[in-house]
């Protein structure tokens, strides 16, 4: 039996800026030990909000109104910021989308990689440096000694993303949140990075929440997939099944909209009005139910 590492249960959030507009509508998902779980959807689907909620970094205008995030028995949403900080970095790590802004431009790679090792693992500077070098080798950077001495701007986008993957896996976390980690990269580099994430994840038994807008990417790296639309789960299941025989009309529409070089006559199909109407009514039905629930409890 596989063991659940992270479970999100009924996560609901509103964005206060627009007078309490719902942005997550009762999202539930589970990630097993050693599983790569894809979170897909278009902009406004709430993918990033879920990732941020797990990391405890939702923006100030977002309010989580219901739900639980359970990480190996810890209720992440109710942890104090001090206790959460102990978990983050050590047990939960992030691979961010933009490898340039995520690195400090004025510090060398060596310094940025060793900080976490010293702080969270209590290694000496020397041991941390040795470990950091080994990590850079593990992410297949060719000249790790040179990379250690570099500033971020001296590295290519792909190299910077490898450094961040090294940083994410440095403390051997149990869960890695990968937030669109290849969106800024060229396709050939993207493929290498995907392969690297999968290899590291398999080697260390890490669970990964892989956030992406690209069904092609998700189909090729994930074990299970959750499809979101406007903060609501539309479909969830084993990747192979969701891709090969999607059950929800929205998943089918997303697949039909994706261009495919192998089938030039398929793809690029705009989403049909009937599908949009179905989606809207599902969202409206949920919102009506939610206000009922609030009314009853309030």
């Amino acid at each position: 039996m596989s063991k659940t590492r992270l479970s999100v249960d009924g996560l609901t959030a509103i964005s206060g800026r627009d007078g309490g507009r719902p942005i997550l509508r009762g999202v539930s998902l589970g990630i097993d030990v050693g599983e790569v779980h894809g979170l897909v959807g278009e902009s406004g689907a709430g993918k990033s909000t879920i990732a941020k909620a797990i990391l405890g970094i939702v923006p100030s205008q977002v309010k989580i109104t219901a739900g639980r995030i359970d990480f190996e028995g810890l209720d992440l949403l109710s942890l104090s910021s001090t206790s959460l900080r102990a978990v983050l970095g050590r047990d939960i790590a992030l691979i961010p989308q933009d490898p340039l802004t995520a690195l400090n431009p004025s510090r060398r790679i060596a310094a940025q990689l060793t900080d976490g090792l010293c702080l969270k693992r209590g290694l000496s500077r020397r041991d941390a440096a040795a470990r950091a070098r080994a990590l850079l080798e593990e992410v297949q950077l060719r000249d790790p000694d040179r990379v250690m001495r570099c500033y971020p701007h001296q590295l290519s986008g792909g190299m910077r993303q490898r450094v961040l993957i090294a940083a994410a896996f440095a403390l051997e976390p149990k869960l890695v949140i990968a937030d669109e980690p290849t969106t800024a990269l060229d396709v050939t580099v993207q493929k290498q990075i995907l392969r690297l994430i999968r290899a590291l994840q398999e080697r260390h038994g890490t669970s990964v929440l892989f956030v992406s807008h690209d069904l092609g990417v998700v189909a090729n790296i994930c074990d299970r997939i959750t499809v979101l639309y406007m903060g609501k789960v539309m479909e969830q299941g084993v990747a192979a099944e969701v891709i090969a025989s999607p059950r929800h009309a929205y998943t089918r529409a997303l697949l039909a909209a994706s261009p495919r070089y192998d089938r030039p006559d398929a793809g690029l199909e705009p989403i049909a009005a009937a599908v949009i109407a179905t989606l809207r009514s599902e969202i409206a039905a949920w919102d009506a139910g939610a206000s009922d629930r609030v009314a009853r409890h309030g």
Binding site: D186, V187, R195, V217, A219, I243, A253, A257, P259
Partner: protein, 281 residues
């Protein structure tokens, strides 16, 4: 082919020849970005220009419409070598060569209404004798690109990403160009919006018999909408041909690598492990 609209020969473009004593004490060598590129685009033809970052595809596009001056080579548009023209001689041709930009948010003036953004070029190029006539043309084009008439009074920040890109397309086609350069125009859009915008572009291209240079990093998109494709790597054209042929039987190892790297939404358990046919730096 006899019906070429745009023919580029031996294009060489280099950047950074200026001397900066502060940043580099030695005189810096200009870095060549295009190393003798040949390209032709027929009337009404859609040609995809693909490559990864740094391949020179954007520079090539800019050279094609005279936005960068090549150090060598020629760009002949409908019989005229535009690299030899001064700004005044170029102006009448500018109307016929339009561009759609990647990011409509930064290419549309945030302080102007959509109406003004569209009316101005119409007046500037003398396509309407007065404001009312220009506005009539603009109203027509809004219908054509699927924007509501009310958009005339909106600002770009009030529109969605897909609507903004429709404005970008409207601004290009309202001038009735012969040639349109589209540089990564859907790379910031969701797949469903991307599908709508590309379907619109295809329709306009067909109806207006536009020659289209479609620059993209996404080979799946290029395969879907282009007749021919040019594959660039480090400032060289490494392969060129009909899409049907190039995607079925790529000749250059680099083309094969690019195609193999595209993740498709299909079940292929071996895709991730499959190594590239040429080494990627």
């Amino acid at each position: 082919m006899a019906d070429d609209l745009l023919v580029a020969r031996g294009l060489v473009v280099a950047y950074g020849a200026r001397r900066s004593r502060l940043l580099s004490p030695r005189r810096s060598q200009p870095a060549a970005v295009l190393h003798g590129v040949d390209l032709r685009i027929g009337r009404g033809e859609t040609v995809g220009i693909v490559g990864e970052s740094g391949s020179g595809k954007t520079t090539l596009g800019r050279a094609l419409i005279g936005l960068v001056a090549p150090r060598a080579g020629s760009v002949v548009f409908d019989g005229t070598d535009i690299t030899k023209l001064d700004e005044a001689a170029m102006r009448p041709l500018r109307r016929r060569m339009q561009m759609i930009f990647q990011d409509p948010m930064s290419s549309l003036n945030p302080r102007h209404t959509i109406g003004r953004i569209l009316v101005e070029p119409v007046r500037l190029h003398g396509l309407a004798r007065d404001h009312a006539a220009a506005l009539a043309l603009v109203r027509e084009v809004l219908d054509r690109v699927g924007l509501p008439q009310a958009a005339i009074h909106r600002y770009s920040h009030e529109l969605s990403g897909g609507q903004r890109q429709r404005v970008g397309i409207a601004r290009a086609v309202v001038l009735r160009p012969d040639f349109v350069l589209a540089d990564e125009i859907v790379s910031g859009l969701d797949v469903s919006t991307q599908a709508q915008v590309l379907r619109l572009l295809e329709e306009l291209q067909r109806d207006m018999h536009l020659a289209l240079a479609f620059i993209s990093h996404d080979l799946s998109v290029v395969r879907s909408i282009c007749d021919r494709v040019v594959v660039m790597q480090e400032g060289h054209v490494v392969e060129e041909g009909e899409c049907d042929r190039v995607f079925a039987a790529p000749q250059a190892a680099y083309t094969r690598t690019l195609i193999d790297a595209i993740p498709l939404p299909v079940l292929d358990p071996h895709w991730l492990a499959r190594e590239a046919s040429v080494e990627v730096p």
